[in-house]
């Protein structure tokens, strides 16, 4: 199984542990990831505020680079997935736009044809790799670990662009957790937003959202939150101490990236997966499991 890999900007900086854990887990599972040479920021849902055509063109370039390699483009960030898939859908459905974009790409020596699919690691595990196969790779089942699966918005919404599973009641995260031997808790904020995209202009409100998300998971009895999106992870983890100031109840809960949870079940230790890089210490709840 071979994929072109689109890491996204956060994996080179604050969420580097997601780069580390994704590569470890992919290798252990036999999924070959080849980083897309020359990829750029997807615009992170902000570029279109300045110039929609630039946002489409810049992602068309990313897709055109991937087309040269003729393999599906795999992401591990919900927002990168959404930005790339939105571009693909718009270009595939609008000949006039595609022509305009290709005119621009042509000057850069590139062409978009629409031949490459954009997918997310979570979907690859469920659909391409298969959960039975994943289950067989588990060395240390996560028995007794209760996880709160925080999907993040952009892996399910809007459904006409994401469309992998039923957006009202997705189950892919629960299915992966089950394959790893963990127990999923049901909680109100399972499909809610982390607020990351407005943390600067709406800091007060977003810190409140962070706390509500954490408390919801905690009150449902989860030992940790798990998310397939680095932006959700960063918001819920890095900003947790700031968010705590608006709450009298203790909101503390560790937040893992999806590949870190998988990595634990595959037998990697905390350091190998970069879990020690998180702001909220995961040791106390995971030590008995790992």
């Amino acid at each position: 199984m071979k994929y072109s890999f689109f890491p996204g900007c956060t994996l080179e900086a604050a969420a580097e542990e997601l780069m580390i854990s994704t590569k470890k887990v992919a290798k252990a599972l036999g999924i070959e990831l080849v980083e897309l040479d020359g990829w750029t920021c997807c615009g992170a849902s902000h570029l279109q505020d300045v110039d929609d055509f630039k946002a489409v063109s810049i992602n068309a370039r990313n897709l055109a680079l991937a087309e040269k390699l003729n393999r599906p483009l795999l992401t591990v960030c919900n927002t990168c997935t959404l930005m790339l898939r939105t571009t693909k859908q718009r270009l595939d459905e609008d000949e006039e736009l595609k022509e305009k974009v290709n005119k621009v790409l042509d000057e850069a020596g590139l062409k978009y044809t629409g031949s490459v699919e954009v997918t997310h690691l979570l979907w690859v595990l469920v659909k391409d790799y298969g959960l039975d196969k994943l289950k067989k790779k588990v060395k240390k089942p996560l028995k007794g670990l209760k996880v709160a699966n925080f999907y993040g918005c952009h892996i399910v919404r809007p459904p006409e662009i994401m469309g992998f599973e039923n957006y009202l009641n997705p189950r892919s995260m629960e299915m992966v957790a089950e394959a790893l031997g963990a127990e999923s808790v049901d909680f109100d904020r399972r499909l809610s937003c982390c607020g990351f995209h407005a943390v600067f202009p709406a800091e007060k409100e977003v810190l409140k959202i962070t706390g509500i998300d954490c408390l919801s998971a905690k009150k449902a009895g989860a030992h940790c939150v798990v998310t397939p999106c680095p932006l959700c992870q960063m918001q819920l983890d890095m900003y947790q101490p700031d968010s705590q100031k608006s709450f009298t109840e203790d909101i503390t809960i560790p937040v893992l990236h999806l590949p870190q949870l998988i990595g634990l079940a595959l037998g990697f230790n905390f350091e190998e997966l970069g879990i020690n890089r998180h702001i909220v210490d995961a040791n106390p709840v995971l030590i008995n499991i790992a």
């Binding site: 300045v50 918005c153 202009p201």
Partner: protein
């Protein structure tokens, strides 16, 4: 499946409670069918609103298992299948004042909508004797927001509105604002846009609940993008949201990738960023920020810059 159960949130003006109604399952029905059945055959005191039964009037918005839907347009079978159950929870739309049971109060919403002046301020380029012609392109600019039927589904799960009812407009109001801001026959776009800018335009958290829940395919989140762009065109660039968006725009041109180190300074200015020192130290301690690690231009950065330059030229032509 023989029976279906609706667990309905009731409100009589003073107290709230949940009440369960059981009725025989029938294939191929809607959520509204069940509500009408309960009212006609089990409990005439149950209050809800509905009229056209054709997803046109927008009066039957309710929440089913936490999701705003038009009751007349939503398949009962699909909801039961989605949740693998025979019991659904029905509640009034969220982020509204409730009058009775599933009936919500629109008055305050309409009052707020008036702030963006959702009516045409006629352009001086023509008059009613000559008519106000629009090109196909100009019409297409306003076609999507015009589809709004005022059902309130976009309001219910809006992530920002749910915690900030005063400081953020309802998504459909942003759509109304956009519809008249980009209207070719309008004389005063700023009068439609500025109330939106002052009421949280940059606070949208991009949760995509509005575009997902709208039963008519209206896309408020995209209209918010459009309003932001229009606001910057009008010169409203000295705010955190606009500076943040430009930080991404400029970083992509410079190296192709986001520079997390300079992002807060570009967005908030140096002085405000000083307030983030405890946050930065927390991250530094864990190796999450590397102060001296500046992104290098990606391979093919010339392609990126060419794309920017050509896109910019196109923009000027547009």
């Amino acid at each position: 499946m023989e029976k279906v159960i609706y667990r309905i949130k009731r409100f009589d003006g003073t107290k709230e409670w949940y009440q369960e109604y059981e009725f025989p399952y029938e294939k191929g029905k809607t959520i509204l069918w069940g509500l009408i059945k309960i009212k006609e055959e089990i409990d005439p005191s149950l209050c809800f609103t509905s009229a056209c039964r054709s997803a046109i009037c927008g009066s039957c918005g309710v929440r089913v298992n936490g999701n705003a839907v038009l009751a007349c347009k939503t398949s009962l079978d699909k909801m039961l299948e989605t949740y693998k159950t025979n019991k659904l929870i029905l509640e009034p739309l969220n982020n509204f004042k409730v009058i009775r049971d599933l009936v919500v109060d629109w008055e305050q919403k309409f009052e707020r909508m008036k702030e963006v002046k959702p009516w045409l301020i006629p352009s001086k380029n023509s008059d009613k004797t000559k008519g106000f012609k629009q090109s196909e392109k100009q019409f297409n600019m306003i076609a999507n927001p015009t589809d709004c039927i005022l059902c309130g589904c976009c309001i219910s799960e809006c992530g920002q509105l749910s915690i900030n009812r005063e400081g953020f407009l309802e998504p459909f109001i942003f759509s109304k604002s956009y519809r008249f801001t980009v209207e070719s026959r309008d004389e005063a776009p700023g009068e439609h846009l500025e109330p939106a800018l002052e009421n949280g335009l940059w606070k949208c958290i991009r949760c995509m609940q509005c575009v997902t829940k709208c039963p008519k395919g209206v896309r408020p989140a995209e209209h918010i993008n459009g309003l932001r762009k229009e606001s910057m065109k009008m010169g409203h660039r000295d705010n955190k949201g606009a500076r943040h968006a430009y930080a991404f725009h400029d970083d992509i041109q410079k190296t192709g990738r986001l520079n997390e180190m300079t992002l807060p300074i570009k967005t908030e200015g140096l002085v405000s960023t000083m307030g983030r020192i405890p946050f930065a130290l927390r991250l530094l301690k864990k190796g999450k920020i590397k102060p001296f690690n500046m992104p290098k231009p990606v391979n093919g950065i010339e392609q990126v810059r060419t794309i920017y330059r050509l896109a910019q030229n196109q923009k000027e032509e547009r």
